[in-house]
């Protein structure tokens, strides 16, 4: 319930109060209302009352010094904010080799880059201590300097609210978030970098625009949570998400009046922690969007250039099905996505829509195995003087198939990836991937290797 900083301040105050209580003599200790405990306590306390005034003055001086130091450090050396604030970040440094030759320019085969640098700010605008119906905010910026430029752009900017009481694990959840945010589509697009075994996303994520943020209102919740308190394990049987967004991507305004809709439903097999079907879930997502259809409007005179104009709205549909089985130490994810994009064919005019629908399909299967304790929440929360230095190893394989046009034959792009992740601290990992990329249309088979160090804070 309390932030770590608040807990630390309180702990300091407890220590000070505790010293004061001892210094003031045990006679001043409050009595208990429980008579049996109280009598015993008083007898013991009387034995510990030999405190002199010099002791008291010494403790008071220590307390004053401590208060002065804390106040001065807070004023001069502590970052402050108007509301509770948690600063987080992820940085990915990457190096790679490929046997493919660049189409133009210098035929390089190796490259190093900072793939992503992300910094985020999250916290509560209002903290509800009664029922945990908190008002929250999130603000994240990302720099992904591929291609030479290093544009820093806004990634997430949301304000959220918990509509239901969410104090206990067995409470059902319903949270809404408004702003620029990740779509609740499938597994691959939503999984954060901390949990992704593979360095790069599946091909369909980028091709279908599922990795891009959207601006709108999204509700996420769950029903019938099953809690195994023997392991502090919570698994809602039903998870859902419903949303309405601009549909025009991130950091831009809407380009039409049609709002895109998304719905997701996940069913998890009810089980206790120790069951072999723990964390076995099947999900489905449907995204209904609209895109502007353009056509060329002839110029006013035969010599004037034609200008593109919007002649209507075309469908932009995404349908996904996924299977998730993450039963530590092994895991399996499978995702199937169908994309349907309507666009005007060449020759469309203001008076003739002439649109066609292009169907695309992506599939990805990932298998991994964990050696070590990196993903066990309970094990990570240890009491110790030094920092924890977990060492975990995660080998994996992935098969990623992308069909850019279902109607065309033998045009799939396949990426077979094998790799290993070495977690060498709680929030850091070193990743090695080897990819074999098969272009069935071109009949090529090329290999590339990537190494990435990712650290978070």
């Amino acid at each position: 319930m309390l932030s770590e900083s608040k807990t630390l301040i309180l702990a300091s105050a407890f220590a000070a109060l505790h010293l004061s209580a001892i210094a003031a003599g045990a006679q001043t200790l409050p009595d208990t209302s429980s008579s049996n405990a109280g009598r015993a306590d008083t007898a013991v306390a009387a034995e510990e009352s030999a405190v002199t005034s010099a002791d008291v003055q010494g403790v008071q001086t220590d307390l004053e010094n401590y208060k002065f130091q804390v106040q001065r450090d807070r004023e001069l050396k502590t970052a402050q904010s108007t509301r509770a604030l948690l600063v987080t970040g992820v940085v990915q440094g990457r190096g790679g080799w490929t046997e493919a030759r660049a189409a133009t320019g210098y035929h390089k085969h190796t490259a190093g880059e900072v793939a992503t640098a992300l910094v985020g700010f999250t916290g509560n605008l209002y903290r509800d201590y009664e029922e945990a119906r908190n008002l929250t905010y999130a603000l994240r910026f990302v720099a992904a300097p591929n291609g030479g430029a290093a544009p820093v752009s806004l990634l997430d900017a949301t304000v959220g609210y918990s509509l239901l009481r969410s104090l206990a694990p067995d409470d059902q959840r319903l949270d809404i978030a408004f702003g620029q945010q990740q779509l609740p589509f499938g597994l691959e697009a939503q999984t954060t970098d901390e949990f992704k075994p593979v360095i790069t996303n599946a091909q369909f994520v980028g091709a279908l625009g599922l990795g891009a943020r959207q601006i709108g209102l999204i509700a996420r919740g769950d029903l019938f949570p099953r809690v195994d308190y023997g392991y502090n394990y919570r698994a809602p049987i039903v998870q859902y998400a419903l949303g309405m967004v601009n549909g025009n991507g991130q950091n831009t305004t809407d380009d039409n009046d049609a709002k895109d809709l998304i719905g997701r439903l996940v069913l998890t097999v009810p089980s206790d922690y120790h069951s072999w079907v723990r964390q076995f879930a099947v999900g489905a997502t449907y995204y209904k969007g609209w895109t502007n259809l353009s056509a060329l409007k002839p110029g006013a005179t035969p010599t004037a250039a034609a200008t593109p104009v919007v002649v209507g709205l075309g469908d932009r549909l995404r349908t996904g099905v996924d299977v998730y089985y993450n039963h530590h130490p092994f895991g399996l994810n499978y995702e199937w996505v169908l994309g349907e994009d309507e666009a005007n064919a060449p020759g469309a005019t203001v008076s003739k829509r002439n649109s066609v629908i292009r169907k695309t399909r992506g599939q990805v299967l990932t298998l991994f195995y964990n050696f070590g304790e990196q993903f066990l929440r309970g094990y990570r929360a240890q009491g110790r003087y030094d920092d924890w230095w977990p060492k975990s190893l995660q080998p994996f394989v992935r098969v990623d198939r992308w069909d850019p046009d279902i109607r065309a034959e033998n045009n799939e792009l396949d990426v077979y990836t094998a790799g290993v992740n070495f977690f060498f601290a709680e929030t850091s990992k070193l990743q090695f991937n080897y990819n074999t990329r098969v272009d069935n249309a071109k009949g090529t088979r090329l290999g590339d290797a990537q190494a990435q160090i990712q650290f978070g804070f």
Partner: protein
């Protein structure tokens, strides 16, 4: 092959097998768990003879010459986190309270209880000093912190039931011990259930007033704890388990000796809870009984009642056979080998002494 060559080969194979077996028998590390941490997350605790053994480094000394490391893990999320670690084969031995141990066993964990580490545990209910709450009945409708999945939850349910209430009558806030103490100080909760000396510490700090102490409350049976070993570890390393139990029985004998009480409490105070709080927690209790490692009929009966209650409160669905679960061979061996069979009073299933300790209290 002539005879001497055959003998030599046989010897070599036997020696290699023996060497291999010896290597297989000795683990490089014993992974020892403990539910909870000291104040501020420090890796020291108090309240048991296992805590003393940790503070004194007794297990480390025992296995030093064998090159076996003792790796202690103190779990902030207590019993449920220990069950998670057991389920994923990350622990060999642990101290664990009754409810979490029972939930783990009912869920299919292959564990054995080989040593008693506590019985008749005392639960307290603490409220802010200026709270109008005076009794358990006054908790009705209030925000009450308790750590679900741990021995505190079972104790809380027993106390509530003895006072005509249930968890449904209060607004439960699920919190670990340190978070609950901070919430009590800021009055974000109206009360908290806690075990051991933490309640006395809250009182010293001026943030809490004890409205209920389980000392001598016959309506509510105290919680129990035990030393659990992973079944596979025990099967592969019975001699290591025996040595662990030997060391801990010796620690129990030292801890329950009244002449060592001050030194014991000082070692517990490494946890950050004060010497005074521990002393007052023990005051009025049969310290030798609560620090007894003996698995007697009362200890078994306490676990049987705990299993029945955990099932009755619907925290588990499957049953647990306590007689199959508790294995007293190791502690009986240790008591016999160290001549301590009569060091602690043995109690019958009804809680009455059946064989009084031969040790004369000073």
């Amino acid at each position: 092959m002539n005879t001497w060559k055959l003998k030599f080969a046989t010897l070599a194979v036997a020696a290699a097998a023996a060497f291999g077996m010896a290597r297989a028998e000795n683990p490089k590390v014993i992974r020892f768990g403990y539910p909870g941490t000291g104040t501020g997350g420090r890796p020291y605790v108090g309240g048991s003879f296992v805590a003393y053994a940790r503070a004194a480094g007794l297990l480390e000394q025992e296995f030093k010459n064998d090159g076996i490391k003792v790796d202690w893990t103190f779990f902030k999320l207590a019993g449920p986190a220990i069950n998670e670690a057991f389920a994923n084969k990350l622990l060999d031995v642990t101290l664990l309270g009754d409810q979490a141990a029972i939930a783990g066993r009912a869920g299919g964990l292959n564990t054995k209880i080989v040593l008693a580490t506590g019985v008749r545990g005392v639960t307290y209910v603490v409220v802010p000093p200026d709270s109008p709450i005076q009794s358990i009945q006054d908790l009705k409708g209030k925000r009450v912190a308790l750590f679900r999945g741990t021995a505190i939850q079972l104790a809380a349910n027993r106390i509530l039931e003895a006072n005509g209430l249930s968890e449904k009558d209060i607004r439960v806030v699920n919190m670990d011990g340190l978070a609950a103490q901070a919430a009590l100080a800021s009055k974000d909760i109206d009360a908290l259930f806690t075990i051991g000396s933490g309640a006395l510490q809250n009182q010293d700090q001026g943030i809490g007033r004890i409205i209920y102490s389980g000392k001598g409350d016959d309506k509510v049976i105290g919680y129990a704890s035990g030393l659990l070993v992973d079944g596979d570890f025990e099967k592969a390393n019975p001699q290591i388990v025996q040595r662990i139990v030997n060391v801990l029985v010796k620690a129990a004998q030292w801890s329950s000796d009244d002449r060592n009480r001050d030194a014991l409490l000082q070692s517990w105070a490494k946890s950050g809870t004060s010497y005074s709080a521990f002393k007052r927690d023990l005051a009025g209790q049969d310290v030798r009984a609560i620090l007894s490692p003996v698995i007697d009929d009362y200890y078994r009966e306490t676990w049987k009642k705990a299993v029945a209650d955990v099932k009755r409160f619907k925290f588990i669905r499957k049953d647990v056979d306590v007689d199959q679960w508790i294995d007293s061979r190791y502690v009986d061996n240790a008591l016999k080998a160290q001549g301590l069979e009569n060091n602690w009073t043995r109690f019958g299933a009804d809680g009455k002494a059946v064989r009084v300790s031969a040790v004369q209290e000073p």
